[in-house]
């Protein structure tokens, strides 16, 4: 379990994170949502150990993060970035093979075989011999996911964690779902996932819990069903929505109102009449 308690962060005189506390349990998907500049990426950078801890507590399975060296940390968690540009023409499988860096690389033949397996997991095995630089944005992201899976799945650690930083932003809807289904499947192997998600519906469909951030502080945290409400959308994004129910599933659908940026007028008597009738 990752335990975050009273975590705060300031940079250049600005308070980016303000006493945030939550826990991430192996086997669950937690979505982080919030407006631009709410502190989502900063939170991810601190919790994943990329940025040093300034204030508060952060522990991985009871061990304070300060006591875990970078290589050990890399055996316990992987991070999927927003985009990963590269100016040198590695082949896709070579990029994936780099995911095993923390575990020491074997001979090329074996690394290639492992990499091909991982590429298959993200449906990109046909890209293996292509140059990474020549792939489309969506293809790059799926190859990067294979690289991240290569890191996570090579680890023998008891508890492992995956951080996703808006990694589906450049993907088409079908590939977005493909990535999240893949990520969802990881939870059955005891991997805990913390994902920054911009698309509320993706969060609603794939997350167990959500953390809603506003101005660096935790606005609300809890199960998807009770947290993703029109009220929360107004507080977090100043966005006015209708809550609809999904025809086949439990999760909430929050659909922007006709004029979502302006608070709705009080409901006139007539339409209430229609609704009850």
């Amino acid at each position: 379990m990752i335990n975050v308690a009273q975590l705060s962060l300031s940079k250049g005189g600005r308070r980016l994170l303000d006493s945030i506390s939550f826990q991430l349990t192996p086997g669950e998907v937690v979505a982080v949502i919030g407006a631009n500049g709410a502190g989502k990426s900063s939170l991810l950078k601190v919790v994943s150990g990329e940025w040093g801890l300034q204030e508060g507590e952060l522990s991985y399975d009871g061990e304070p993060v300060q006591g875990i060296c970078k290589q050990d940390l890399a055996k316990r968690r992987a991070v999927m970035p927003q985009a990963s540009p590269m100016s040198f023409p590695f082949k896709a499988w070579e990029v994936v093979a780099l995911g095993r860096t923390p575990f020491g690389l074997n001979n090329a033949k074996r690394e290639r075989a492992i990499a091909l397996d991982r590429l298959e997991l993200t449906g990109t095995e046909h890209l293996a011999e292509r140059h990474y630089t020549a792939l489309s944005g969506g293809e790059k992201q799926r190859v990067q996911l294979a690289r991240v899976l290569n890191q996570l799945l090579s680890s023998q650690a008891k508890h492992r964690y995956l951080f996703l930083d808006e990694c589906t932003a450049s993907l088409d809807p079908s590939h977005q779902h493909q990535v999240f289904q893949r990520v969802r499947a990881l939870t059955s192997e005891g991997i805990g996932v913390l994902a920054i998600v911009h698309d509320i519906h993706l969060a609603a469909q794939y997350a167990d819990r959500v953390l809603i951030l506003k101005d660096g502080a935790l606005l609300d945290a809890g199960p998807v069903k009770s947290c993703l409400t029109p009220q929360a959308m107004v507080e977090a994004f100043a966005l006015h929505t209708h809550r609809l129910s999904h025809p086949e599933a439990e999760w909430p659908l929050l659909v922007p109102r006709k004029n979502p940026l302006v608070a709705p007028q009080p409901v006139p008597f007539k339409s209430a009449d229609v609704a009850t009738g």
Binding site: K70, Q71, D72, M86, F88, P89, E94, L98, T133
Partner: protein, 348 residues
Amino acid sequence: MTTRLFTTLIGLLLTLALMTALAFGPVPVSLRELGIWSLHWSPMTLPELPRHIDIVLGDIRLPRVLMGLMIGASLAMAGAAIQGLFRNPLADPGLIGVSSGAALAALAVIVLGNTVLAGFMATFGFLALPFAAFLGALLVTWVIYSIARMTPGGSQVTTLILAGVAITAFSGAVSGLLTYLADDAELRSFTFWSMGSLASVTWRDLAIAAPWMGVSLIGFPLMAGALNVMLMGESVADHLGIDPNRIRRRVFVLTALAVGAGVSVAGMIGFVGLVVPHLVRLALGPDHRALIPLSGLVGAALLVWADILARLLVAPAELPIGIITALLGGPFFLYLLMRQTTEGIQHD
């Protein structure tokens, strides 16, 4: 092309270069004599060589060839590592000003060694020159990197090269000022520093410079795995358990060692670090585990060949070797720039 085929080809080219470099020159040496000389350490009974051939080969040509090998290898490896670190195929210790920083520091020691820098000379003795060159190189590498980090978007090629131009111009100007304080002999060496030459290399030079370069020749290949990861950015390196700050510091120090030692013996030899890694990357791809050692091999071969040309083109006079490498490297650099603008290679 497979790594094995490429290595074999370069190995052949290098062997041929060594034989040519030893055999050709004002004193002709036959292949038979070369063969006898190269076996004279063995217990075989061989015919005696004329004394002057022994001296020409052992005391004049051999240290020069060995120095060429080491400088070529370490400059090429430094180029490969710096390009990886900056994530930019146009970075080169010469282009970004590192060599000129080393040359300026070395020149300062030569001209001011008896006056302002007497204390420095007294402290470091015969190591003062390479050490000063090392410090100069290290300082410039650090300045360039800080500038690159300050610009939004990181190591933008234009920023790097313009900063390199500025630093080279500035070092050149200060070097020019220093020449007013220099006597005739020191003045002659000014051309030497700015264009590079292996002409005066002795066993003593080799003994002083080789250990510094040796460290970089061993150190750079050890950075290969980490540099591969660094190509995906410093964040990703961190996520994969590699401390980018540590890698950066090591590459800086190794580069400064390679460039500083090279410059202190042979002056500024440009473009080796740009051209060689690029050629190897074209043939074998960007994996630093092959790129760095093979760049070393190609760099060694290239510099020995360049030195042969420098000696033979205008014989009995000699060209500075930097002229040869710049003749090859200048057009090549323009070609790279053009390719980069037309193909729009990505930089982050």
